[in-house]
Symmetry: C2
């Protein structure tokens, strides 16, 4: 999701001061923190906070969908490393105007997504807030150490792949802002914003394949998320504009909203598709495996290169797009 | 800390719907959730959210102390079950007016408490908020399964013990509200509110002793926290007013503020002392052990009885005080 300016700087400073421990496998700077709990057994943990008016708008976000989204975006961080989500904790800070019916809807959605993934709610708290509601979700997962996929393993020559259409959630948000949340023709896009799907099964298949070098989920948009993989792996990337998967409905929505579909895809965020890299020889076997196990298609959108930074090639021109978020993109 | 009316009802409903899992040892309803990660090895996890204007006041709470408190109150939940705290995650939602200097102070305090307990910061996020700042902290701990102390084990006939003076933090809060935060004579009380101490070492000693039947930390006040132990254990309790440890400074502050020192102790919350029960024969050996290992005194304040509810005996009268919080007490 869109983050405030300067978050990367804050995180970099905190990361330096965070300390370390012998059983810590991955600390700050990936989708989850990862630590060893037994020989060859890892625990994964992630937390995310969503703030009213910044990350969601109660005017158009039904409580059931908001509850579903709160669960999905956190489970997605476990999926992004190939883990199996197991347990969740939920902290709610709610303004007094959100009554029992709203909370019942939110919890129904939250618990439904947990149940879909076999995740058990094990704790949390509820507190009051004055002017804006917020919730923080923590999800714990587990996996075999040999299957872990971090952001660090991308190699020059790797193909960059994504697991589905991009920009859908950004288009849905734009449509909601235009008051079109109930317009039936836009539901695939509106739904991508209100109720995104986390890719747990795909993440598990990719992790077990042993063929993926680096992975994360697409929460902040391809320009930012690929820049994270590049920075952690010490490489650069070149993305081909014409290879980015854009749905026909997205192109139609872009016309309606007067926006660029490509910019939604690069910088919109919140798609929660998986972004990963693999050696060129692994792409065909990966496509076959993923098709057999999940029925899904993979889209090759670019290449990992030596150097640093993420570049977009479009109509023969190349421009840097590293870390460019939705608000700051154009 | 003081919680909004109705939180217990919300939690009861959520607890019913939360699901279960074979390796889950303790779910919703204790200081931490607890699950098995290896034979005889448990992981503990707890999360807590603090909201500006509800749980803290930036007008008198220096950022360093607030950061310390955010860490301490969560580590205290691990201590309350006898666990060893290991890892922390921090989610910050900050209003734009809190600049770099404020954040640097907060993080310095937060990381200092983590370092004091050997806890490593492994993740979290920072987001913007519009009108009020909030933070959510998640702490993970570990311990041997045989040493776990929950809220469930209290037995009729047990002695109820606390690990230190009560009401100090409530008195400190009252003094801050009177503008006396910088008054040097009140610093022990003001400090108890601004920078409470979590009892990790004592919790570990009690857990290893094998002599404690039920335990939790005193976050909401003796009246509420003992009611939790009683409800989970299926017993009642009787507290003797004259046995509750009140410091001379607390009595003096109560005069200054026109408050009852006993009510601060029963219903003030945020003391983060440990509250626990043990068989009568174990009290003397426990006192000896705790004195040797920590130099601390234990205070016997009451008895576990058959039945239900928490009762206060004062000057020959008995009245029920179960779950009575600071705001609703008088």
């Amino acid at each position: 999701m869109a983050r405030p300016e300067g978050e990367r700087g804050i995180i970099a400073r905190i990361r330096q001061a965070a300390g370390s421990s012998g059983d810590l496998v991955v600390g700050i700077g990936d989708d989850c923190a990862v630590y060893k709990t037994a020989p060859d057994r890892l625990s994964l943990v992630t937390t995310d906070t969503m703030v009213e008016g910044v990350h969601f708008d109660l005017g158009w976000h039904p409580p059931v969908h908001l509850g579903r989204k709160a669960a999905s975006v956190n489970i997605s961080d476990i999926a992004a490393m190939g883990g199996l989500p197991r347990f969740a904790l939920l902290s709610l800070a709610l303004t007094p105007d959100l009554g029992r019916q709203w909370l019942a809807g939110f919890m129904a959605g939250f618990l439904a997504v947990l149940a879909e993934h076999g995740v058990v709610l094990i704790g949390g708290d509820t507190v009051q807030s004055g002017h804006e509601s917020m919730f923080s979700v923590t999800v714990l997962g587990e996996m075999a150490e040999a299957e872990l996929i971090t952001r660090k393993g991308a190699k020059a020559g790797d193909v960059v792949l994504v697991s589905g259409f991009l920009g859908e959630a950004a288009a849905g948000l734009a449509l909601c802002r235009l008051g079109l949340v109930h317009d039936s023709g836009w539901q695939p896009l509106v739904g991508a914003h209100l109720d995104p799907v986390c890719q747990v099964t795909l993440g598990r298949v990719l992790a077990a394949s042993g063929m993926v070098h680096a992975m994360q989920d697409l929460s902040d948009g391809l320009a930012t998320d690929l820049a994270h993989i590049c920075a952690e792996s010490g490489v650069g990337a070149v993305v081909a504009a014409e290879r980015i998967p854009l749905s026909p409905l997205l192109r139609k929505a872009a016309e309606t909203c007067g926006q660029s579909p490509l910019e939604w895809a690069l910088a919109g965020g919140e798609d929660y598709q998986l972004l990963f890299t693999a050696g060129e020889q692994q792409v065909a076997p990966l496509r076959k495996l993923v098709g057999e196990k999940t029925g899904r298609e993979l889209f090759a959108v670019g290449r990992i290169v030596e150097g640093q930074g993420v570049f977009l090639e479009e109509a023969g021109r190349r421009r840097e797009i590293s870390y460019r978020g939705y608000e700051h993109f154009r």
